[in-house]
Symmetry: C2
Subunit: 287 residues, 2 copies
C-alpha cells in the first residue's frame, strides 16, 4: 500500500518540503490540505501534490506536515494528532515554538509530534515559490525533543539527513527568545527602514537613482508577507518587544554619539560590530 503524506499548507515551505518528500518516497500519495482553493489548484498543477483533502479525512498517515501560520497550527494540531497511528510522524514548521508545544502538552498522542523550525525561506510565498533544494544545507531546530517518541524522531532525522539538513536541538522557550533577535528583529528593522525611506522620498525617482545594492539588501525583508509576520510578532510578542527595545536603545546610543560629535567612540562601536564578519563566515547561506 502506498504511504499517505499530508501537507497542510502548500505554500513556499510546505510545497518545497513536499517536493523533497516525493523524491524520497516516489510511490507515496501526497495529499494537500489548504484553506485556499487557489493554492491547492496551483500545487496540483505544479505537481507538488497528487490530490487534495481535508483534516477530517486523514487516513492511515505516514507523515503529516503543518506548514501554516502558528495560530492555525494551534487551532488544528489537536485534531490532527487525533488521526495518527502509532508510527505517524506529525511535524510542524511554525516560526515560533513555545505556544505550539504548550497547546498539545497533554495530548495523548504528543509523542508522535515533532516541533521543528527549518531555517529556510525566501521573501516570496505561495506554491509557485516552492522549489527543490530550499532545505539543502539548512539547519532545522527540533524543540522539546524529549517529548517525542524516539522511533518517530529517528525516522524524521533520517529524512532530514537525506535532504542534507543539519539537526540541532533547543527547548521551545529558548528557541523563541533567540529567534526574536536573529530573525524577527531583522524583519522589523527592514520593514521600518522601507517605511522611513518611502515616507521621506515622495518622489520615487530619488530612490531609483540613489539606491544601491546596500539599500536593496537591508530592505529586502520588507517585501515579506505582512499577514504572516504580524502573526509571528503577535505570537512572540514579549521576546519581540525585548529585541526591539534593545535595538532602539542602540540606535539612540549611536544617535547620541553623532549629536555630540563623539566620532572616535562611534568608530570604536562600528569596529566591534565588524566582528559580525567572522560570525557570518561560519554560516552557509546558499539558497
Amino acid at each position: 500500500m502506498s504511504k499517505n503524506i499530508y501537507i497542510i499548507g502548500v505554500g513556499l515551505i510546505g510545497g518545497s518540503f513536499a517536493i523533497e518528500l516525493k523524491k524520497l518516497f516516489p510511490d507515496s500519495n501526497l495529499i494537500g490540505i489548504d484553506n485556499s482553493k487557489q493554492n491547492l489548484i496551483s500545487a496540483k498543477r505544479l505537481k507538488i501534490i497528487d490530490t487534495s483533502g481535508t483534516v477530517n479525512n486523514i487516513i492511515n498517515p505516514f507523515i503529516i506536515l503543518l506548514a501554516i501560520p502558528v495560530k492555525s497550527i494551534i487551532e488544528i494540531l489537536p485534531n490532527v494528532l487525533n488521526k495518527v497511528n502509532p508510527n505517524t510522524i506529525v511535524l510542524d514548521f511554525g516560526s515560533t515554538k513555545n505556544s505550539i508545544c504548550k497547546s498539545v502538552i497533554k495530548h495523548k498522542n504528543r509523542s508522535n509530534f515533532i516541533a521543528a523550525h527549518p531555517i529556510a525561506g525566501t521573501e516570496f510565498s505561495g506554491p509557485s515559490a516552492a522549489h527543490h533544494g530550499l532545505f539543502k544545507n539548512k539547519n532545522i531546530i527540533i524543540c522539546d525533543r524529549e517529548k517525542t517518541n524516539d522511533e518517530v524522531i529517528d525516522k524524521a532525522i533520517k529524512i532530514f539527513s537525506k535532504m542534507k539538513m543539519k539537526v540541532t536541538y533547543m527547548n521551545s522557550i529558548s528557541h523563541d527568545k533567540h529567534i526574536a533577535y536573529v530573525s524577527h528583529l531583522s524583519h522589523l528593522s527592514s520593514f521600518m527602514l522601507g517605511k522611513t525611506v518611502m515616507d521621506e522620498e515622495e518622489n520615487e525617482k530619488n530612490i531609483f537613482d540613489m539606491a544601491g545594492s546596500g539599500f536593496e539588501s537591508t530592505v529586502r525583508l520588507a517585501k515579506s508577507s505582512p499577514k504572516m509576520w504580524t502573526d509571528i510578532f503577535d505570537d512572540n510578542k514579549v521576546n519581540v518587544l525585548k529585541s526591539l527595545s534593545d535595538y532602539i536603545y542602540n540606535l539612540e546610543l549611536i544617535k547620541n554619539l553623532i549629536e555630540k560629535s563623539e566620532f572616535k567612540e562611534l568608530e570604536l562601536q562600528l569596529k566591534k560590530t565588524n566582528y559580525i564578519k567572522k560570525i557570518l563566515k561560519g554560516i552557509n547561506y546558499e539558497e
Copy 2:
C-alpha cells in the same frame, strides 16, 4: 604623448575605475597616489596602476580622480585644482557632496571639477577588492553641474557612457539630504542590528544555528569600513541625524502597536511598506 591619468586613492572605487579607464585608454599612463604604501604596492602588482606618484608631482593631467574619504578630498582638492591645464577633468567620488563643493566654490579652476557620486560599491575595500564591471549599469550622480565647464562635462559623460553608467543631475544639498535616507541610514540600521544581536547572543552558536539568509541580508552592511562610515556620518551629520530620528520614530510606533496588541493596524503598516517591492523592481542591482 601618452595621457597621464592620476588615481588618488587606489581602493575598491578608485582601483575599479582605474581598471575601466585602462580599457578605454590603453596607451595612458596610470599613476596611483595613496597614503598607504601597501595599497600602492598591491595596486601595482595587480596591474591596476602603472606607477605611483604624489599630488605635488602631477604633470600635464588628462584625468585626476579623487576616490578617498570626504575629509581628505576637502584637504587636497584645492591643491589638485592648482595642477590642472584647461582641459583636465578633475573628478571626485566622495559619498557626500555639499561640503566638497563648498570647499572649492571660489577656486579659479572650479570649472575643471566634477562632483560626482557613483552608486556602486560593495562591503569590501582596498585594491584587492577592485574589479572590472563594478560601474556597469550603475547610476552616477553629478552635483552642481552648472559650476563645471561644458567641455569638461561632455568629455566625462562620454567616458561614463562607455562604461555603461547612467548619469543623473542633482544639486549637492539635495544629494546629501536624500542619500542620508537611501544609503547612510541603511548602514546605521545594519550596524546596530549586528550590535544588538551580538550583545544578546554571547553564545555564537545560537547565531550560527538560527540565522537564515534574511539575517545575513539585513546585517551585510555591518561588515563595512568603520573609518569610512564614521567620516560619512560626521560630514553629513545633520541629514543623518534627521533620517535616524525618523527611523527611531517609526520603530517606536511599531513597538507601541505591538505592545497594545493592535495587530490589525500593524498589518496595515507592513502592507503599505510592501510597496517597496514595486520600487525595487525598477532598480537594476547586478554588481
